[in-house]
Amino acid sequence: MSNSDFVLAVEDLTVSFDGFKAIDNLTLYVDRGELRVIIGPNGAGKTTLLDLICGRTKSSGGSIKFKNQEMTELAEHAIVRAGIGRKFQTPSIYENLSVWKNLEVSFPRGRGVFGALAFKCTDDVKARIEEVAAEIGLADQLSREAGLLSHGQKQWLEIGMLLMQDPELLMLDEPIAGMSVRERELTAELLARIGKNRAMIVIEHDMDFVKKIAHKVTVMHQGKILAEGPMDKVQADPRVIDVYLGH
């Protein structure tokens, strides 16, 4: 458990549910600015791993260090404030609020009760909202009710809500599920842009998409890491072909 240069260092992480080890002694390092994709068959523990990192599930053992700071004991909101953002699998946005409000609420100021009462949407907040809206391609949708957006736009909005907080580590759970071909391309470009100054962990099944975005790929199987490395190397690994990619 030494200090390191990695933005995220997961070491010997274990979690068991009633004796079933969903994550089994897993060790994973993510570099600064790296875009890591995690792939693996259903039930491999990919989403559980993200849940553990963001504090939604408590680990049974092991350590998670973010910028050398231990995360396993922190509450969810404290982990977010430390700089870890998490996007859920299904678009998780505030459907009844406008796109603008969705972004405004995500701005990292006025996070206490009385801070929120006193919060004013000042010019810097407005500028940030407009900047992020342009980034995610929703600049002309700001006054729309978020529930009326298309599925792809909802996914982008949730990414935008995370960008408002400018996290150093962004975790995305199947960001392109249900998207059209064109939307997938746009998402790949978006991820490439926002990945310039932060690390990202992406869970994805679409191999073409993974090839396009990944710096490094981690293959999980039964709560363990099966293989890790560049995409072509992983794809050629016989064990990976056996359990996941198929012959």
Partner: protein, 409 residues
């Protein structure tokens, strides 16, 4: 005025002005003092309903124990009034003069120490505001930090209501028991039973109520209000946006409790007594019905709901005393099934578009009758789809279909 309009939105102002006219002008002009005092009593429940709009409508937290906080506020005020009514002169026939009559009946010979501060009005006011808030803080902190919510939270608040009722009834030497504290007469020498005092108290109550509505509206418009809505719909997203969700729930629970406390105190002043029958489970549920009928998302609607249900209660319980409880239950079920957003929701969905449509269409095409929400074939519509331009209170909302499904909320 422009600032106020910017802050509230035109339709908000219209709603509040109309309510103010009804409460401050129409009611006092049309009702005799007996009826007006009755309306004043109903309006003390409106504090609870307004609190429930924040807690339940906005925060999505259903409490079935708001009577607890109403009662605590009421008892704090009643204790002060009771002590003033129990001066040695007017209680000289007791075996211990100078203590409240129910203490004397229960062989208590000395005023308990914790009653002493209630001799002073400032302390009583402080207590009626902060005792309910403190209890709400303790219950809320214990529950919300442990992520207890939904039905479980509602049941726990019911248990609290039951516990407090049992406690008050059981400790009758200190609380007046099941009869409560009766014969409240004066406040700082001012006789609260006279007609003129009743008028003044009615207006004081109404003004406090509007103060509460403005405060809540301000909170709704702040980021905290947006967060409450966000939490109601996607709690996890709020949590994983760096907010400690429990703190916001505790806050809104405390706010609702404090409003209940004010309502309870005004009740004790206007009605002249306080008893455990306003604390327990049944009154607490009735208070939820007030908010539900009026519209749990509308502060103004909740006040109308309170008035309406209580008028109904008074009328029916005078005419058909056995039927009232059934009617009340039918009303609650009807509201939940047919229009979950209460009368305010009906107004928003049907009356308002109609009014706006009328106003806009009239100049151009006077021949065409104003079209209310376009109703599509009944068999293929089960839900109202409303397109709304968000964040402008007076924007035209254009419901595309009529008929409401049960699950629009």
């Amino acid at each position: 005025m422009t600032k106020l309009r910017h802050w509230l939105g035109t339709s908000d102002i219209a709603g509040i002005v109309i309510l103010a006219l009804v409460i401050l002008v129409v009611m006092p002009l049309t009702a005799d003092i007996f009826r007006l005092n009755l309306i004043g009593k109903y309006l003390t429940y409106a504090f609870v309903a307004v609190g429930l709009v924040m807690l339940w409508g906005y925060g999505g937290i259903l409490s079935l124990g708001q009577g607890v906080f109403f009662g605590l506020g009421g008892y704090c005020m009643a204790m002060f009034l009771k002590l003033e009514a129990s001066d040695p002169e007017s209680t000289k026939i007791q075996s211990t003069p100078g203590i409240p009559d129910f203490m004397d009946w229960n062989q208590i010979t000395q005023l308990p120490l914790w009653w002493e501060p209630f001799r002073h009005l400032p302390f009583a006011i402080f207590a009626l505001l902060f005792v309910p808030t403190l209890l709400a803080f303790i219950v809320g902190f214990a529950m919300f930090k442990r992520r207890v919510g939904g039905v479980y939270f509602a049941i726990i608040t019911q248990a609290v209501a039951l516990v407090l009722t049992v406690l008050i009834i059981g400790q009758q030497g200190y609380t007046g028991g099941v009869n409560g504290m009766t014969d409240l007469k004066t406040m700082l020498g001012w006789d609260v039973r006279t007609d003129s005092a009743k008028y003044i108290l009615y207006y004081a109550n109404a003004i406090l109520l509007f103060g509460a509505i403005f405060l809540c509206r301000w909170i709704q418009k702040s980021k905290l209000g947006t967060l409450l809505l966000a939490m109601r719909d996607k709690e996890d997203r709020v949590r994983f946006s760096g907010y400690d969700v429990a703190n916001f729930k505790v806050f809104v629970f405390c706010l609702a409790a404090m409003l209940c406390g004010i309502g309870g105190a005004m009740f004790a002043l206007q009605v002249g007594f306080m008893s455990p029958s306003f604390v327990g489970i049944v009154p607490s549920i009735e208070m939820v019905i007030f908010a539900a009928v009026g519209g749990r998302n509308s502060l103004v609607g909740a006040v109308y709901g309170t008035l309406l249900v209580n008028f109904g209660k008074t009328y029916f319980s005078e005419s058909f005393p056995q039927l009232w409880l059934f009617l009340m239950a039918a009303l609650f079920i009807g509201v939940v099934m047919a229009f979950p957003n209460g009368f305010a929701g009906l107004f928003e969905d049907f009356v308002k578009p109609w009014l706006l449509g009328k106003r806009e269409k009239k100049p151009e095409t006077p021949a065409v009758p104003p079209v209310a929400p376009v109703t599509m074939q009944d068999d293929d519509v089960s839900k109202t789809v409303t397109t709304r331009t968000v964040d402008s209170g007076d924007a035209v909302s254009a419901p595309t279909t009529g008929r409401m499904g049960p699950a629009t909320a």
